[in-house]
Point group: C2
Chain length 155, copies 2
Amino acid sequence: MTKEYFMREAIRLSEENVKNGGGPFGAVIVKDGEIIATGVNNVTRHCDPTSHAEVNAIRNAASKLGTFNLEGCEIYTSCEPCPMCLGAIYWAHLDRMYYGNTKTDAKNIGFDDSFIYEEIDLSPEERRLKSERLLGDEAIRAFKEWDIKEDKIEY
Amino acid sequence: MTKEYFMREAIRLSEENVKNGGGPFGAVIVKDGEIIATGVNNVTRHCDPTSHAEVNAIRNAASKLGTFNLEGCEIYTSCEPCPMCLGAIYWAHLDRMYYGNTKTDAKNIGFDDSFIYEEIDLSPEERRLKSERLLGDEAIRAFKEWDIKEDKIEY
């Protein structure tokens, strides 16, 4: 199977998802030359703002393999990931990413990907999202407890 | 209830979660002065790299309210969100964010938040994550279909 084959499957899922009432996004995860999981955008159907194609493909792959670490896997996504999904790809330790449409293409049909990339680049005070730091001296306790815990599972 | 009250609840969840074998993170979502949902980090317990406190709190709140749009809600998180969770906060349209620990505090106990922020800031070619654009001319079809769809639910 070629990388074009896997990308065409992600694209096929994205088109099918539009017909089914979801957003125009699809993703597949490949390990050892085989598709082990897929995902489509289910934000509106599942009332879940985190239900993007890449997040769903990662969750499905991790569940299937029984691990939170997807080293050895690659993701093919019909569109360049938004910051949420790109973050998920890093946390999952995927080896490589292939993408079709760009974040500019997504912006051109009304999606916020580019806006969120711009916001993340700013300091918290400069962002459109209002935010405030609070009780840092109390919050640090859990970090200290984690730091000294001997039987913790790191990720 | 004060904002300190809600932050202390997020902090309490983060400490409890360390005791229960999860990561040191907790979050609560507040609407009209009441906690409507909570979340803790379940990455290792649920074999899900996307199972961060903020993502879980958002999913729980959206499920409870039956909507993907959490305007009118605020999030209190025991640590400054990673890019995945910050992206989720934007997609959820939360009004405001309060946080306790910072991404530097998270880095100091071994979490990748700062690294991922640095990576997202780079162009795809400069990132540690290898990536490649593929078949953009075919991927764009789903976006065109979405763009002309008359009964689509935008988000």
